[in-house]
């Protein structure tokens, strides 16, 4: 494949979820990504129709990890188009076998780890900015988040697409060996350190306001104590739906505000 098709292929991978539907999920996105390659591999329109209809079935995986599937399907289609393989069912089987496991790896690393950690690093930067520069440099946080997240995300998408062409089915072994889950644990530890640091700076910045009198004789609770109670509550009831937690927090603030009056 020439550079222009490679570039087209890479750009089109960003559209994999563009016509997401409840019946076959990412199927049209999948077809859209492969179309320039299939057009080149099957110049005959009737033959191509057959191939396109073969690929319009259900497809669902993590959008970042989908690049592995694209490369492996293209390799399988190349073999079929050149006559080296007669197994026209292979691409379909590959698609259904690989999509699930790689989606689990991608979801756990990118959605469950990399995104929360990068957003938390950004929050740490902003709390530091408020602490040191009085919010003058708050803009650094969102830019740091987008930069950090996408450096890894875009490079990973590019690398995984083109290395999968070369390694083909060996790519599955590489992904298993690469152990994104292990890297995920390390990234999560970094995230945990960022959370602890943010908590320290946040409590330091806002936690030492005058004590709240809760209305029982002279008894009063310092603001930092209330922060501690909130932190423990939300950690222990983390399973609660966020919307319920949100309105509970408003109600809690109302109670504290009322008692503190």
């Amino acid at each position: 494949m020439n550079n222009s098709i490679n570039a087209k292929l890479f750009i089109r991978t960003f559209f994999v979820q563009s016509l997401w539907n409840f019946e076959r999920l990412q199927n049209i996105g999948f077809l859209y990504v492969l179309y320039p390659v299939l057009k080149k591999l099957y110049p005959d329109k009737n033959k191509r129709k057959e191939v396109l209809l073969r690929h319009i079935g259900f497809f669902n995986t993590n959008p970042y990890m989908a690049n592995i599937v694209f490369a492996m399907i293209i390799n399988a289609e190349r073999e079929i188009a050149s006559g080296r393989s007669k197994n026209t069912k292979k691409p379909e089987i590959l698609k259904s076998v690989i999509s699930g496991p790689i989606a689990a790896i991608g979801d756990s690393f990118f959605w469950g780890t990399w995104r929360p950690v990068t957003s938390f690093v950004a929050i740490l930067l902003s709390i530091l900015a408020i602490n040191m520069f009085d919010a003058d440099y708050l803009w650094v946080a969102p830019i740091a988040f987008i930069f950090l997240y996408n450096v890894v995300h875009i490079l990973f998408r590019y690398w995984i697409l083109f290395i999968s062409f070369r390694l083909n089915e060996q790519m599955i072994k590489l992904v298993a060996k690469f152990e994104l889950t292990y890297i995920g644990d390390i990234v999560r530890l970094i995230g945990l350190a960022a959370i602890v640091a943010t908590l320290y700076f946040y409590f330091d910045l806002f936690g030492f306001n005058p004590a709240v009198n809760i209305g029982v004789y002279d008894y009063s609770i310092p603001e930092i104590g209330i922060f501690g109670i909130i932190l423990l509550f939300s950690f222990l009831f983390g399973k609660m739906r966020p919307v319920i937690m949100f309105y509970c927090a408003i109600l809690f603030s109302f109670v504290i505000g009322y008692l503190g009056l």
């Binding site: 539907n21 329109k45 929360p116 708050l138």
Partner: protein, 216 residues
């Protein structure tokens, strides 16, 4: 004012596009969308703070399989817009705006589901086209899905911004002082609730057994 609302609606629609439809560059995340809208409206501080609260409290809202999460971008853009346009710099008004924006974002999820159901119809139109040798329908169908999404989202953003804005302004004037104090407190308490939820999310860390999930 109308021009500002139109610009914000189109911006919101393009940001929401990033959630599933195109790219997933995370520009739709509240931690980016909040400060961006705040910056445009001249109050990056409120934008950042509301974005940070939504980001942490809904840390697990991600599109997995067929689940459609609540549109956090809409929640953030609406709340930041309302508070910056009508009560710039007021902490209690900002939290009140967020409390009003939450149901609107959940309502938009239903619109989003309807849109994805319509995508199935486009998908069948493409399939028929391929059978008839009209391969161009793949690109046309996909792009029309994107355009429809942007139009739908921009219209909903605009309607919600106007309607919700009216509800917000009219209710904000009559907020009792006790509730005002509560919202002021919530400005500082909500991020702490968020920290707890993030910690809960991170509890399956290797090497810290007491923090590990029970099912592991």
């Amino acid at each position: 004012m109308i021009e500002t609302l139109v610009v914000l609606s189109v911006l919101g629609a393009f940001l929401s596009l990033d959630i599933t439809m195109f790219g997933q560059f995370m520009v739709s995340r509240p931690i980016f969308a909040g400060p961006l809208v705040g910056y445009i409206l001249g109050d990056i501080n409120t934008g950042f703070w509301l974005g940070m609260i939504v980001e942490m409290m809904w840390i697990n809202a991600i599109p997995l399989g067929t689940s459609i999460p609540v549109d956090l971008t809409m929640m953030t853009v609406l709340s930041v817009s309302w508070s910056c346009l009508h009560f710039k710099g007021s902490q209690d008004a900002a939290i009140f705006a967020l409390a009003i924006a939450v149901p609107f974002a959940y309502l938009y999820r239903e619109v989003d589901i309807a849109g994805r159901l319509f995508n199935t119809k486009i998908m069948h139109w493409i399939e028929k086209g391929i059978e008839q040798g009209k391969e161009y329908r793949i690109s046309v169908g996909l792009y029309s899905g994107l355009v429809l999404f942007i139009l739908r989202a921009a219209i909903v953003y605009f309607v919600f911004m106007v309607l919700g804005g009216l509800i917000y302004i009219n209710m904000a004037v009559y907020i009792p002082s006790g509730l005002e104090v509560a919202f002021k407190k919530a400005w500082y308490y909500l991020p702490v609730f968020g920290f707890g939820l993030v910690l809960y999310n991170f509890k399956n860390i290797i090497g810290i057994p007491f923090l590990k999930k029970k099912d592991e």
